[in-house]
């Protein structure tokens, strides 16, 4: 792109008469909503094409390849509460959600205790570190099979799978949170003689909160996956069991339809619970959409807004808290999973690092 063209582009951004059509076209192409809406449309087209192609090669495939009509009809019936399965969709999700909730609470409590201890003490960290990594590496399926053998069919097995899936993420996040506590703010509080309780409430806990929040998100997303697997093998009801029910009944539209209901369920939770909670808890953080920053930098047509620069400067590991469920399910990229020699905890750092910086 020549320099002249870039200048021309920039002047177009200033309030000059731009044709309405162009403005609408720009809005459509730049809006993230367009991108979001295009994806399901593309999926639908691929789906219909796939059925067409496969059935021309192998006509019997009609039985196992459900059409969008069948799937959405099934989902509509389920949403109406009209089902041949033993429980309707709402009962099924309520059962699973209860297991997930209890499992997550247990994981958060145990994980926070162990994570804080690991962050504070080198010895405790050495004691747990390898086993946290081992539990992290264990496939959900192994836990599901083991727990259904050990606890039989019921609530206990799936709940324990949720705990075991979620707990390493909570431990690792909380440990990193403890290691990242803002020592400069503690020094500030000390120099003003702020009482200890107030420091805990206004400095320590708020600084840990983003890490706990990230942990809860990971635990939710991964715990949910683990739970579904566990219910397939060790449940007599719940979402995983029901998808197995449709599989056993050889109803492909039931399996696909239920999987889509999972997606809707996860999205609703993400939007209604985590996003809202995050907005409330972290309203102090300059709001920013990371994708916008990259795009702005890449295009370089407009200078970065000052708020973006400020937010980038302020961004810490806490921004991991904002990772969506899709990111979380693919595994946390920043976790030091294979970290054989973790950095020493804060109290082992030189007694007074500040003096080396200046003065």
């Amino acid at each position: 792109m020549s320099a002249d063209l870039r200048v021309a582009e920039r002047t177009a951004d200033t309030p000059q008469p731009v044709s309405v059509v162009r403005r609408i076209w720009r809005w459509i192409t730049r809006s993230s909503l367009t991108g979001r809406l295009t994806f399901p449309v593309v999926c639908l087209i691929v789906w219909l094409l796939a059925i067409k192609v496969v059935t021309t090669i192998w006509p019997f495939a009609v039985d196992v390849l459900p059409t969008p009509g069948q799937v959405f009809g099934f989902m509509f019936d389920e949403i109406k509460g009209d089902t041949v399965a033993p429980h309707n969709m709402y009962e099924t999700f309520a059962i699973s959600l209860q297991r997930l909730g209890i499992g997550m609470i247990i994981a958060l409590v145990i994980g926070t205790i162990i994570g804080v201890a690991m962050g504070l003490s080198k010895a405790v960290n050495a004691f747990f570190n390898d086993w946290v990594v081992a539990i992290l590496a264990m496939p959900n399926l192994a836990w599901a099979l083991f727990c259904s053998l050990a606890f039989g069919f019921g609530d206990i097995g799936p709940t324990i799978v949720v705990v075991l899936t979620g707990v390493p993420f909570v431990i690792i996040n909380v440990r990193e949170g403890v290691r990242n506590t803002p020592s400069d703010l503690f020094d500030m509080a000390r120099s003003f003689d702020v009482p200890r309780e107030r420091v805990i409430w206004h400095v320590l806990i708020p600084s840990l909160l983003p890490f706990l929040f990230a942990a809860a998100r990971y635990a939710f997303a991964l715990g949910w996956k683990g739970l579904v697997v566990a219910e397939v093998f060790g449940g007599q009801d719940g979402a995983g069991w029901t998808i197995k029910f449709w599989y056993d009944a050889h109803r492909a539209y039931g399996v696909v339809g239920y999987a889509l209901l999972f997606v809707i369920f996860a999205l609703i939770f993400e939007k209604l619970m985590f996003d809202q909670l995050s907005k409330r808890l972290f309203k102090w953080r300059p709001s920013i959409d990371a994708a916008d920053v990259v795009e702005a930098r890449f295009d370089a047509a407009a200078p970065l807004p000052a708020s973006v620069a400020a937010a980038e400067a302020g961004a810490t590991a806490t921004s991991a808290a904002m990772g969506s469920i899709t990111l979380a399910t693919s595994g946390p990229p920043h976790q030091p999973v294979d970290d054989p020699s973790p950095p020493p905890p804060a109290q082992d750092a030189p007694k007074h690092p500040r003096s080396n910086d200046h003065g």
């Binding site: 000390r190 708020p206 102090w284 937010a311 003096s355 200046h358 003065g359």
Partner: protein, 247 residues
Amino acid sequence: MADITVSELHKEFGLGADKVIALENVSLSISGHAFVSVVGASGCGKSTLLNILSGIDSPTSGTVRITQNGRPARAGYVFQAARLLPWRTVMDNMLFVQQDRSKETRDRCQHYLEMVQLGDRGDKFPGQLSGGMQQRVGIARAFSTEPDVLFMDEPFSHLDAITARTLRKELNTIWAETGTTVVFVTHDVGEAVELSNRILVFAKGGRLADDIDVTLPFPRDVSDTEVAVTKAEVFKTFEDIGALAIS
């Protein structure tokens, strides 16, 4: 107005071959409505001295006594970075360091926010303010505890020249109004001459090399001839003591 007495202060970091002497037998006393600047090159122990005075750090040997009419003095601190709690509003940051949350305390905080021209920003979060504004909040926070002595550690070094200049003027006004004793660490000799009535020059190895009284009338400006002359004199001192030599 506090009285500060420092005697035979010694501070070392590390052990054996890694041992670094940050302060070497420093003795000094400060009293009255003083604005004392501590100047010197990087690594001469300026910040260490300030941290020991404020109680953030403890000395290897020697004593520090800071009193106000015989009782222990109250201290405030302004840091190089503003060090505000990012998750609390400006007003809550001010209240965080106060003894109580009474109406009078709130009014006092508001008064000092107005003094740094941020009276209408109390409900903003630090992330919504510029660097200069954040540093202003840090200064207001320190003064709002009405300290007998205020320690300032290169508070303007991260700011642009124009913002720093404005803040220096504000600081000078507030200092004149409050009567607080200020100990001000800086590596900027011009800043030291503009603000202070006494300059302590530190040399490498944490030695107190010189103690200069600056008697020019306030308000001063870096562009004043007398300030420039005094600045040149201080630099001359640096040369005389070999503080400018590259070691």
